[in-house]
Subunit: 649 residues, 2 copies
């Protein structure tokens, strides 16, 4: 039974498994571990561990029946598929120097996977590569993955990284088990059915190096009983660092599998046992020896804070790639306005900024005599008009508002809003593109919200350049500036989703995405900044920035699948708005981050730095980004001439 | 006029150019350098070097005419395209810290290339990147390359490599100009219209590092007059190393361009001048100041050995990708037999091997009493039958020959050959696949030639395993073994040809190719060996080999586009046959090397080693190779399950 219920969380990590020994009585294995042990599934060997194809041939010729753990009929199809993960024989070693062992291993691996596939198991656990080399193992698994049914293959990887700070590129893969995983999955071309089962040991590597795994495809974490400490009452518990890691697993849909012999001798009598005393006696079955460990894992699960409502709402968007809006070229739909208008925090920030601007513009003693002309350019259905009027009321300033909107459908709503609120004397509605409107007077304050996840990516610079002639020479633009940011990330799920399209164009497109299963490898750095009003003589909005990222040396090597992008906008003076993680505006949900993929993921070794180039390119009809990496090695330039992704003007 | 005539050589390297200064009188530039100077083309600036777009705008607004060297009408279209290479303004610096310079550079570069393209020039010379960084320059060139007409862009690269043996991966690109080229072309995705013009300086880097360039797309070598020494008579000449390099250029279709001021003051009177005295006086024009340098280059060209006939015949096959034959699955055509039968050297080796085997099999004193049974399996149209009979005659041994051939069309020819030669009493023709023939007796000697460029790639192992039951227990197989070899190569031309298909399948296919424009980066190493007869109990022809290649440290970094493959076969005892370069059989032309591409080329840094894996995989219906690299980084496994390339059984 599941570890617990967590509001809104329907992820796999509610289920906990147990690793078992070979036993050809599968019904007993299930009864003992599931019914009596309360585990949700078993990770059970499928084949007698004594089996070796080379011995088999000598002994019994070709007629021998393979020594599998029971026939397919001993369990129902749904029992096999819901409750059994196949454990591939751990003795196999496809990269051994011993050719007989190598050949035996290949035959056995293929037989067992074929059997597991015949049983429609959801997953098989592949033993960890032995030693430093895994090419032949990967070749064999890769062959098997082609044309496999939907079964997942979990490659067991011990969670090991020696913390030596040497920059020696020839140091052994064994020092950092991530390296062997990386090599294996590169050889298998990031196959989407190949994932990781992490073997958690009692000592843990650095937090930075652990963080890498949350960008990888990890499906299970196998926790050995050796990892557990003993609490004051004699019960198993985990260290603080292990607890934090397990919470991370729960939050990333990673299932826990318990493994090993019990190492705690528990006090005879305890409330838990007393309560269940009857059950145990009735069946005449001993309590499952790993039950105290499972109970502790359940306790950790239940102890987690419930997901906040907004987070629960956004669960379905996690790591889901969306095309960015093109609000200039396309007209937004009512549904979209509806969603964004609910983002109270954003309008509070705008109102704060407008208040300050009004107060700076008109001193208190002139508040009743001077009328400030404010234009909302891109008024949509009116939320910024409302924020402006509320700011005027809050500061006691007199306001005249022009609400300029190019979308004729939104203008309909604007008209009814103004009528409904009785703003007819203050607000004029202009149905026009701000770049072409011939205004009767100039504005003191120009308010706009044309920002995309990457700041300028919805063409705020081009729109505001076009609207700048509406502003007085000493007028104020809100926002007064905005900056985009990027940071390198491991994001194997996103990479695979992009790759599944099987073309270059999708690798040269930026996506809006609620990033979740990613590893952030270095702090974000600013990319492009735009200021408004722009009084400089050079009006070009072309930009070019070169950035250097260093990855913390205790992280180890890491894979860069692309860049997470954010923005921060200065609305007015100290009032800002943004999603750059270190300064992000709390409780704001209008923007998910943006993701720029790399066509070929780049492995970054400890101590080497990542050099990245971003360009913003403009032509009369469109604006686009190009990006490339030049260190540690040069990538192709992505999206040349905006061939795959651009924003229309 | 061309440097000279070399039998069979029609390559571009016959033409020699000269780099000129800006001059808006293009007809004069052509007359002076071509008519009087005997150069074939000029590399001439297209734009006034004083031009800067940022100054232009201030001075004359938008109406200004760009200061190009004359209008398009001053030369005929064929003069422009045949005799002028456009030299892009050398002051441009797209990676400068100075933004005005950067923007000026981008505008100018695009204007000049557009102008050159308007003139249908065949090529433009781009100035060398300044400093270490070239990403913005590459971005701009890459944008220009998309949709460019057929014009080539030659990126000028000084031929510089500091010979420091440090393993410091952070050492400057400036130490090795190949690095900057590599970065530039990776950013431009190996664009086929981007190539190199090497600037040859008076000191040359190591031979190994020079060798890399012959695998790259080098179109021109610019030799400065500073490179020239002075011979005893006061004339310019080149050092031995420079001479060797220039011969290399001639052999790789690289055009020489002379550059700089004359630095030799020549004796007043010499035979050459005397002979041409009249011409010079009649025109009243001074002899071209670089004429002695051109004459010397012409002398080097004319001094080269003429191409051997076979080499001349194969010129058209240089670097041309062919699919390997599948002689087992397909029947060869008459034309193919015709070609291969002309390879005298191959049959001489076979005859030698058969002679030795006959002598070992039958001592001299039994020569007239014992008849040796010899089977030619895969007899084709009979060349090995003939070699066998000649060996019998040469050694005085008595022979009975079975000629087994599966191709019914070749059997027709065999019959008429036997009749024509009167071999009816000695030779029996068997129209059958050797794997299925039910022979009336067993053979003393089994002769076959089923070898492909990679040894076993035409399924010799499978065929001979099938035919082995025809051989007596102590019988002899000719060949008795064969081994495949590979070596890593730079081969940008081949890479681009594979890439042009725009799919993965072509990157997972092996090609037969007359390798020419390649750089061999390390000595070949053996991959798979097969022995015949195969008396071992393990009859599997699956193979797996892991190889480590080290690149000589004075080479510098290099790009690996794939692997050149060869074979060597032991026919009998010390008689061998093969194409592995260090031991290849001279004057044999039946096999070109094989080429295994890499989907993503791999940059190898000095001191790091290359780990490569090759697999030979067999199923009842087909045989295929898989290959991958695991160091310095892991590639995908190529050709999983033979999905892209296989040989049918």
């Amino acid at each position: 039974m599941p570890l617990g219920e967590r509001a809104g969380d329907k992820s796999e990590s509610r289920y906990c498994g147990v690793e078992t020994q070979f036993n050809d009585d599968m019904p007993h294995v299930l009864a003992f571990n599931l019914s009596h042990g309360s585990f949700d599934f078993v990770v059970a060997p499928l084949m007698d561990p004594a089996y070796r194809p080379s011995l088999m041939q000598k002994e019994s010729g070709v007629s021998g029946v393979l020594p599998f753990a029971g026939s397919d009929l001993v369990l129902s199809p749904s029992q096999w598929s819901s409750h059994v993960v196949g454990k591939i024989s751990p003795w196999i070693d496809l990269d051994s120097e011993d050719e007989i062992l190598r050949v035996d291993s290949e035959i056995t691996l293929k037989q067992e996977i074929a059997w597991a596939s015949h049983l429609s198991l959801q997953a098989c656990l592949l033993p960890a590569p032995k030693g430093n080399s895994c090419a032949n193992y990967a070749r064999c698994v890769n062959q098997t993955l082609q044309g496999l049914n939907s079964m997942q293959l979990w490659l067991r990887i011990p969670l090991v990284k020696t913390d030596n700070d040497t920059m020696d590129v020839n140091s052994s893969n064994l020092d950092d088990s991530w390296e062997i995983w990386n090599s294996f999955r590169l050889l298998c071309e990031h196959h989407s059915q190949l994932s990781v089962a992490l073997d958690v040991l009692n000592s843990l590597p650095s937090a930075n190096s652990l963080g890498r795994w949350f960008g990888e495809s990890v499906r299970a974490a196998i926790i050995s009983t050796d990892c557990f400490l003993t609490n004051a009452r004699g019960y198993p518990c985990l260290s603080k660092r292990h607890q934090k890691l397990v919470s991370g697993f729960f939050n990333h849909s990673i299932q826990i599998v318990l493994s090993g012999e019990p190492v705690h001798s528990l006090p005879r009598i305890n409330s838990d046992l007393a309560a269940n005393n009857n059950d145990n006696n009735v069946d005449g079955v001993q309590k499952h020896p790993l039950r105290p460990y499972l109970d502790y894992v359940g306790y950790l699960y239940q102890r987690m804070d419930p997901l906040p409502e907004q987070e629960r709402f956004e669960l379905g968007y996690r790591d889901f790639l969306q095309s960015p809006l093109q609000p200039l070229m396309d007209n937004l739909e009512a549904q979209t306005y509806e969603t964004f208008e609910k983002d109270t925090m954003k309008y509070i920030q705008y109102q704060r900024a407008i208040c300050k601007a009004l107060q700076d513009r008109v001193p208190d003693d002139k508040a009743s005599s001077v009328t400030t002309v404010l234009m909302v350019v891109g008024a949509g259905r009116g939320p910024l008009v409302r924020a402006s009027l509320q700011a005027a009321e809050e500061t006691g300033r007199k306001l005249k508002v022009y609400a300029v909107e190019k979308n004729p459908n939104a203008v309909v709503t604007l008209h009814s809003l103004v009528k409904l609120e009785g703003w007819e004397n203050i607000v004029s509605i202009i149905s026009s593109d701000m770049r072409y409107w011939d205004a009767p007077e100039k504005a003191d304050i120009l308010v706009s919200e044309l920002l995309g996840s990457f700041g300028d990516n919805e063409l705020s610079p081009e729109c505001l350049d076009g609207a700048q002639r509406l502003l007085k020479d000493d007028g104020i633009s809100i926002p007064s500036s905005y900056t985009s940011f990027i940071q390198p990330v491991t994001a194997s799920k996103l990479y695979n989703d992009v790759k599944s399209h099987n073309d270059v164009a999708h690798f040269e497109t930026a996506y809006v995405v609620k990033l979740h299963n990613i590893a952030r490898l270095a702090p974000p750095q600013p990319v492009f900044t735009f200021f408004h009003p722009n009084r400089s003589t050079d009006k070009s909005n072309n930009r070019y920035t070169k950035l250097q990222f260093g990855v913390s040396s205790d992280t180890g090597s890491a894979m860069i699948h692309g860049f997470a992008g954010y923005f921060d906008a200065v609305l007015y003076k100290e009032v800002h708005l943004g999603i750059e993680p270190s300064t992000s505006t709390p409780n704001m949900f209008s923007w998910f981050p943006i993701f720029f993929p790399l066509r070929t993921p780049i492995s970054l070794h400890p101590g080497s730095s990542l050099e990245v180039h971003f360009w913003r390119c403009c032509r009369p009809s469109k604006v686009w980004y190009e990006w490339s990496v030049t260190s540690p090695s040069s990538s192709p330039i992505h999206n040349t001439n905006g061939r795959s992704y651009w924003v229309g003007l």
